[in-house]
Amino acid sequence: MGIEGYLVVSTLLFGLGVFGFMARRNAILMLISIELMFNAVNLSLVAFNAFLPPDTNTGAVFALMIMAVAAAEVTVGLALVIAIIRTRQTPEVDQYSDLKE
């Protein structure tokens, strides 16, 4: 399987992430979709690193750093979602429409 296969998988995964982020109503599932997009970018970075000519390890290092940033992001995101759910009693994002307390 050449680089096109990995890039097509990465594109489909990114598309699924965008779709889930835009179309689902559950806040936690929106976070899962963000994780899917992170993984798609990671896969394309590692594929570029493995296949394209400048023979360095920059892609793998970038992928590791993106993983660390994604871990930090999902930590803060889940804390925010849990705090919102505790006040609103629902995980559905289209019921978060008012900013009044």
Binding site: Y6, L16, S33, A60, A70, A72, V74
Partner: protein, 149 residues
């Protein structure tokens, strides 16, 4: 990959774990074993458990599952098809030079991580520390705030 279409969110999370596992296999196929190991550790180990824990904490076992999709789903389908079509077209139009799976050795990555990328490495550790402190602050129970006041 049915992560975004299932109605029950726990099933979605399990599908997400399967997806992360197969991605780890792909990294191993691409000759990046350190990235595959980090994928298993961070995504399969940490993030999946965190998400499952949050789901268990918030669902409270109610059986009436609402409709999963937002009313802007048709727009989302159009936008996603446009993105995937455009990027797929770009992938197949480009001439990708010499394509051979080279692979990255673990010690080379370690050397690069601590010499060329030492400053981003330290900044990321600081970022994770800040994220942990912020998460603890956000997830604190409101009663403790009232008690502190």
């Amino acid at each position: 990959m049915a992560v975004v279409t299932l109605r029950n969110i726990i099933h979605s999370a399990v599908a997400m774990m399967i997806c992360f596992g197969s991605l780890a296999g792909m990294y191993a196929l691409l000759g990046a074993p350190i990235v595959a190991a980090a994928q298993v550790l961070i995504y399969l180990g940490a993030i999946s458990v965190l998400i499952l824990f949050a789901i268990m904490l918030t669902q409270a076992g109610d059986a009436n599952l609402p409709a999963p999709f937002h009313r802007q789903m048709p727009i989302a389908v159009v936008v996603v098809l446009a993105i995937v079509g455009l990027v797929g077209w770009a992938v197949f139009q480009t001439d990708w030079g010499l394509a051979e799976a080279a692979g990255a050795a673990v010690d080379d990555i370690a050397t690069a991580l601590f010499t060329d990328f030492a400053l981003p490495f330290e900044i990321i550790s600081l970022l994770i520390l800040v994220a942990i402190i912020g998460a603890i602050y956000l997830a604190r129970r409101p009663e403790e705030d009232e008690r502190a006041n």
